[in-house]
């Protein structure tokens, strides 16, 4: 071999070895679950990040514990996987006392849901039994998977829609004193295996309507099956899930099933939904996050029908495991994006979460989105479920809380290998639960810590998960954000599967300012669902929307909370009501909750 060839060979070998070494080191340093038990102390976190989240279940007297649903013994081999949902949380001031209350769902037959009334002294009292909202998980009518609140009859009190793997239930709020079950005759479907539902007024008639997303087919009662062929036909292209329901509020306590008429005929495996107007025509679009397939984006055509435009919008190309849909304006440009969660498991399945930022202006008929999750640093969380945006340190930028963890069973075990065997196979194999290997108590993406990402105001988020709260690795499902103690800061509540929830009290470590709005529609629906609030200060403009539920099996507080950092003045606030009317407020008082009634338009 000539000397030059010899040197060439040495150089090539050196490059090769360097590449091997770099990839080896990179894989070791790129661990997105770097749970460090020696977390910073509370004071240090408050100083460094401006807040600290401390679980206060005990102090708040919240003793609720979620119990997973029972499933038919024929599914015992994958019981833990099937029964992996049902822990939900929704926030509501049900008695209009000006303090947020909390509703948790439970999922075992005979288990009780809990409605924690805020006692205004830091404590809560479970009044679900007294309010007739506790004993709702019964054989024959199914078990709870989530709940969303809305004043559907515009009487000034928020009513409750409870969705289940079973018969959805509607409870009318009688002046905050008790609830009356009004399901019968309301037009709600007989049975839906639902893990998502939202209220939204899709035709802007002032009457909130309902969307319920089906997961398993509605013909199955999961606690008594006569078949094991209930599973998705594909890990990425499944269309054999439950049907969805679009229920139009007729205004007399009755709802009409208009699903087919409005074009929502998809039978993908829906796990989350959220609605907002993305093209400025005043009618809310519907974003649906689907498991085992692509997400869907339904364009609202003047309240007359929906058209599925996921591919055109850019969100319907890559099939993932969609489990969340929540809104947030992360750049303070008045542009509200959609955050969806999926699965990221090192070396096995790297789906990544998405933040779909609208790239078209709000006047474009067909909205389109671009995924900014990777560039913003909010892509890889784990096996994620619920997520919510909220300005946790009132610095004027929306932060992000993501619940993580699928099944935490035996430690140091993994079902992933077994899972990959069947999910890689043909539909005849994956679709039948009896072919799935026995889980034998193994974990799968278990013991994952929830993610807390701090918005650093430059489009980048910083992972502060192990610094701003204790390291806890429950299997997180629903996340709700609310100012629980009327202190002008956002607290966080996380419902965990088969475990206690985490009620995090936010200890603010700064003197940042804030403003909040509680909207009441007069022409629009009473809850002002669909209203958009834009707050302008210091050259920034942040937009938020009143929703009737978003995230995964969750609902945030009804009021909208804006941190404004050190600024002591807000230039203006514009409220766009679903009725099409807009109200403008100049220089509103800061550090205050404003209760705004929709004004009558001047003709």
């Amino acid at each position: 071999m000539s000397p030059s060839k010899k040197y060439t060979k040495i150089i090539i070998t050196a490059i090769f070895i360097c590449l091997l070494a770099i990839t080896f080191v990179a894989s070791r340093n790129n661990d997105f679950f770097s749970i460090k038990r020696n977390s910073r102390q509370k004071a240090a976190a408050e100083k460094a990040f401006g807040f600290y989240l401390e679980p206060v279940n005990k102090e708040a007297k919240i003793s609720f514990r979620h119990i997973a649903p029972e499933v038919d013994p024929k599914l015992n081999n994958i019981k833990m996987q099937i029964a992996s949902m049902g822990a939900a949380v929704s926030i509501c001031d049900f008695d209009n006392d000006g303090w947020n209350d909390i509703y948790f769902t439970n999922s075992a037959i005979g288990s009780k849901n809990a409605l924690y009334r805020n006692l205004h002294n830091g404590e809560f009292e479970d009044v679900a039994g007294k309010m007739q909202l506790a004993h709702v998980n019964r054989k024959g009518s199914g078990v709870s998977m989530g709940a969303v609140w809305c004043d559907y009859d515009n009487d000034g009190f928020k009513d409750l829609l409870l969705y289940k793997w079973g018969k959805p239930e509607l409870f009318k709020n009688i002046e905050g004193k008790r609830f009356e079950r009004v399901t019968e005759g309301s037009g709600l479907p007989a049975w839906v295996n639902a893990n998502s539902a939202i209220w939204f007024d899709f035709n802007n008639d002032g009457l909130p309507d309902i969307f319920i997303g089906g997961y398993y087919k509605e013909i199955f009662h999961l606690d008594s099956l006569n078949t094991t062929k209930i599973m998705p036909e594909s890990f990425r292209y499944a269309n054999n899930g439950g049907r969805n329901f679009l229920l139009k509020n007729k205004g007399n306590g009755k709802f009409e099933d208009v699903t087919n008429e409005y074009g929502l005929t998809s039978t993908k495996w829906t796990l989350a939904a959220a609605a907002a107007d993305f093209n400025g025509d005043g009618y809310p679009e519907l974003y649906i996050a689907n498991d085992y397939n692509v997400d869907e984006f339904y364009l609202n055509k003047n309240g007359q029908r929906f058209e599925e435009k996921g591919r055109e919008a850019g969100v319907g190309h890559i099939p993932k495991s969609g489990m969340n849909a929540s809104f947030g304006d992360i750049a303070n440009d008045g542009n509200i994006g959609v955050y969806t969660t999926n699965i990221t498991e090192k070396g096995i399945l790297i789906q990544g979460n998405n933040y779909w930022q609208p790239r078209s202006d709000r006047s474009a008929e067909q909205p389109s989105f671009v995924d900014l999750a990777q560039i913003s640093g909010i892509e890889n969380a784990g096996w994620s479920y619920g997520a919510q945006f909220g300005d946790l340190n009132n610095d004027g930028f929306m932060d992000l809380y993501v619940a993580n963890g699928f099944i935490s069973a035996k430690e140091n075990t993994s079902y992933w290998y077994d899972y990959s065997k069947v999910t890689g196979g043909n539909s005849a194999i994956i679709g039948d639960a009896k072919n799935w290997p026995d889980m034998e108590g193994k974990s799968q993406s278990g013991y994952e810590q929830d993610k807390i990402w701090l918005n650093n105001s430059d489009g980048l988020f910083e992972d502060v998960s192990d610094k701003v709260c204790p390291a806890i690795t429950y299997d997180g499902r629903a996340v709700a954000i609310a100012d629980l103690w009327n202190r002008g800061v956002l607290d966080v509540v996380v419902a965990n599967q088969n475990n206690i929830p985490l009620v995090y009290k936010n200890y603010a470590g700064n003197d940042n300012h804030w403003i909040a709005f509680d909207l009441q529609g007069t022409i629009s629906n009473a809850d002002a669902i669909g209203a958009r609030v834009e707050v302008e200060w210091d050259g920034k403009k942040q937009a938020q929307i009143v929703t009737g539920g978003m995230g995964f099996s969750s609902q945030n507080q009804h009021r909208l909370h804006f941190g404004i950092g050190k600024s002591d003045k807000i230039d203006r606030v514009v409220i766009y009501w679903p009725s099409g009317h807009a109200d403008k407020i100049e220089n509103p008082e800061i550090n205050k909750l404003h209760i705004i009634k929709e004004s009558k338009p001047n003709n």
């Binding site: 990839t23 190309h317 077994d418």
Partner: protein, 288 residues
Amino acid sequence: MQQEYKLENIPATTSRSQWLKDNFQYIPPAFITLILLVGQFTFGILDSYTTLVAAIATAMIAEIILARIVLGTWKNLASAYITGISVGILIRSNVIWPYVVTSLLSILSKYVFRYKDRHLWNPSNFGISWMLALYSANVAGLSIQWGSNLLAMSVIWILGLLIVNRAKRLHVTVTYVISFIILAYVRCLITGDAFLAELSPLTGPMYQLFIFFMITDPPTSVSSRKGRIIVAILVAIAEFVLRLNNLIYAPFFALFLVGPLAKFLDLRWNALHKRKQEKPGPGPGSVI
């Protein structure tokens, strides 16, 4: 996957068969492209065209440069194309660098790990196995199905079998598939899982690419038909052991371990055999 197919012993009875013989090296790249197109237009299997292009471009550019500076030749790029497209299909990442690095590692391995002037590892098998073995936070394998369309799957299987038959490697594919099925049954007896669960991976796209392109790769196969059959069985057995240890990417790792060792022994055996044959016998005046 490298696939430098050259048809041998095919009677040139017609001009068509002669054309096929002359251009057979382009059939596997065309076939893998067809698989990709069927998968993409039926199910949208690719998460991004950019990553695929990056993988293919890296492999081809690396091949051009390395062949020129190491071997002093211009190489046909069909095998580099297969390597690149395989990397583009078989690994999954949300970022682009793993596609570039895997392709680069794959092609580099051909020029670094050589014995008797032959490379030992199937290039893409080396690159993909390395990246997956690291259990990286950025890389995963194609461990999911492309869909439940039996027609599409049947077309791929039939075409695949025809091509490996034409390339005189049908015995490798058939041996491996039979071994896999038998060992899947043994595994189900050991693990207690359903036979279909153990058989399931064979119905997925990862295996279609593995059995038609990777395990049959001529340059890294051993020289005799009998030897190739034994190697295919050994790969299946190694995979069986790895699967019992819950390794998702067992087929890649099994070929990574067995293939080069078999190739090394084959080359060594052939060299010794050749030397023995070339060794001059005792002369007329020899006392031996």
